[in-house]
């Protein structure tokens, strides 16, 4: 038999002790907006997240915008944007695409799904591109392809290394065959840059999939990844439905890819700047030597 605690205590009639200062009223404070971690469920205020480069205490890397990433990676005030004016148009008349572009421009506050430019990382000059997950999930259309190919050509002409950060759902289906052509175009530009003896380092962020994985994302001389990033061609759901088998929970995770030799290293966000700077400086010395 379980006994329940069925006690009712009376309240003593003691008056409140006097003295001290009047307590602050907690209701006056405005609670800060916090974000909940999908991995551990803990909420962290935005100010604390910003200080921790948008990484939860459990290690989960929150998705960040291209500009945020540039501010985390590049030296202060060193970034100069290239091709900022390019933006996509609905060439094929794909239903709803024009509207989608408009809303993406408004929500991501970017004209396209990639931001390109020149920057210094730990004092090392480089060409830098960072994909924008908040613009149609970083998908690659003709303009993304053009900007990335343009950046590689610029870097090849200037003898600069390229540092790229990929976050993408793959080719942009609203641009059909035109988006698939970007795979060949960007790969060609990477090859030309490489043939000139230039260094290309890519950092794969969550997720890097589809046509982006199948082209310039895996073409780096050094391939780094963020902890827990999904990197693959077809998404887990598609693969699962095709092979009709339950996939392991770590399917396409960066940690598994590293084990199988597809990656060189997994670098936590806090170390990315220093690791990339070190790699750029090693590469530079080797070239000059």
């Amino acid at each position: 038999m379980t006994v329940t605690l069925n006690l009712r205590f009376r309240k003593p009639k003691n008056e409140l002790e006097q003295g001290g200062r009047p307590p602050a009223s907690p209701a006056e404070t405005e609670p800060e907006i916090a974000r909940k971690c999908p991995a551990c469920g803990q909420s962290t205020p935005l100010s604390a997240l910003w200080e921790n480069l948008y990484v939860c205490r459990c290690g989960y890397c929150f998705r960040i915008s291209a500009r945020q990433r540039i501010s985390f990676l590049a030296d202060r005030d060193s970034f100069t944007e290239l091709f900022p004016q390019l933006e996509s148009r609905d060439i094929l008349g794909f239903p709803g695409y024009e509207k989608k572009l408009e809303s993406s421009r408004a929500s991501a506050k970017e004209r396209e799904a990639v931001v390109c430019g020149r920057a210094r990382i730990g004092g090392q000059e480089c060409a830098l591109f960072v994909m924008e997950p908040y613009f149609m999930m970083g998908s690659m259309g003709a303009v993304v392809g053009e900007k990335i190919a343009g950046l590689f050509e610029h870097a090849a002409d200037e003898g600069l290394p390229v540092v790229g950060c990929t976050v993408s759902g793959g080719a942009r289906m609203q641009e059909g065959i035109l988006s698939l052509m970007q795979m060949a175009k960007t790969s060609g530009a990477v090859k030309r840059h490489s043939d000139g003896g230039n260094f290309y380092l890519v950092l794969l962020a969550n997720p890097t999939t589809g046509g982006v994985t199948a082209s310039f994302a895996m073409g780096g001389d050094v391939i780094l990844a963020e902890p827990g990033a999904i990197v693959g061609f077809a998404g887990a759901r598609v693969v699962e439905q095709t092979v009709r088998r339950k996939l392991p929970p770590d399917f396409q995770k960066a940690e598994v890819l590293l084990e199988h030799g597809f990656l060189d290293r997994i670098v936590p966000r806090a170390d990315q700047r220093s690791v990339i700077a070190a790699l750029l400086s090693i590469h530079r010395r080797e070239r000059e030597g």
Partner: protein, 437 residues
Amino acid sequence: MFSKILVANRGEVAVRIIRACKEMGIATVAVYSLADAESLHTVLADQSLCIGPAEPRDSYLNGERMVSAALASGAQAVHPGYGFLSESAEFAALCRKHKIAFIGPSEKIIALMGDKSEARRFMQDAGIPVIPGTGVLPDVKSALEAARDMGYPVLLKARSGGGGRGIRLVQTPQEMEKAFHIASQETADAFGDGALYLEKYVFPARHVEVQLLADEDQNVVCLGERECSIQKNNQKLIEESPSPAVQDALRAKLVEAAVRAARTAGYVNAGTMEFLLDEDKNFYFMEMNVRLQVEHAVTEQITGIDLVKWQIRIAAGVPLDFSQEDVCLRGSSIECRINASAVGTVKALHVPGGPRVRFDSALWTGYSVPPHYDALLGKLIVFAGSREDAIRKMQAALCELVIDGVPNNIEQQLDILSDRDFCRGSYHTGFLKERGE
């Protein structure tokens, strides 16, 4: 003064704090995990809120939930008790941010004293004797070098340790590597910080601690010492005040050192400085506990000062209304911690009474001890004119205490109390180990 306080703890300490609030006319908010829905503190408080599942990190260790509960209930202050969030600088800062008073020192002091190696350096600078030791060690090699210079045996200690975890005795160089890795892993798991430092192993030694109260006007008073050498695996079992090893001259030195350290640190609220006392009566600073101690009751008995009430008053900005000269240590008080040795349900409970017998507990007949938290069932505290009388009173009280249904350590406590060395007051931290415990 605060009109409503949230008690961010469970068990006997939550009950203890709620009782103090009731005397002061302060309304109380209890918080509880799902495992504690049938707990005494939930019915004793004026209001109670469930803050999550049994797992401490989702309930009693979750600062955000605590603050949410305080905001939701309109509590103006939070009393953290001991354990859980009581030594979390992060939690103290979170409270301040939401304009809820944290009943304890500032987050700066908590952070300083929480870093055991920084705290050591601070005390050394303040002229307090510390045990010869090192700063944080980067690896096994540096530990071996430091130990060689210091001479074995040495103690490996965790920077962020507590409750005896992350402490390893190393007698020979051969034991170092294994001990280093185990201690580092243990504290990394428990506290998220694997940093270790070395200390000379002082043995035999006594664990003597000094109770302080400091207000915002920098008035610091010392409420005497507590002897806590009866320990099992670094967990205290019996505490007494005054310490049989401390005479007036030594006490004056201890008080002077503790007060000086608290003043230098700008300490506010209740705190305890722990010292190790060697056979030649040299004392060394070990650590400072920036919270209420489990064993605070023995100090209350011999000083007549209610520490919990003063914690609340100091947090509300009330200055101390007595000075060091007014503090009078009278008689002798002993506390026995009654611990569960397994989970169970209390079938019958009888609590001893009579003059100067106190049992601080959250037990009730029908209470089931949850497996998720510490083993403390209650604290039996007695007070008498002399140490000898206090031991007699404790013997009698322990024999009268009945907690049927939950295996416990009452028998072991009786054995200790009738031990000749204990009765003579000549014992050290190795007391139980020497007796095969």
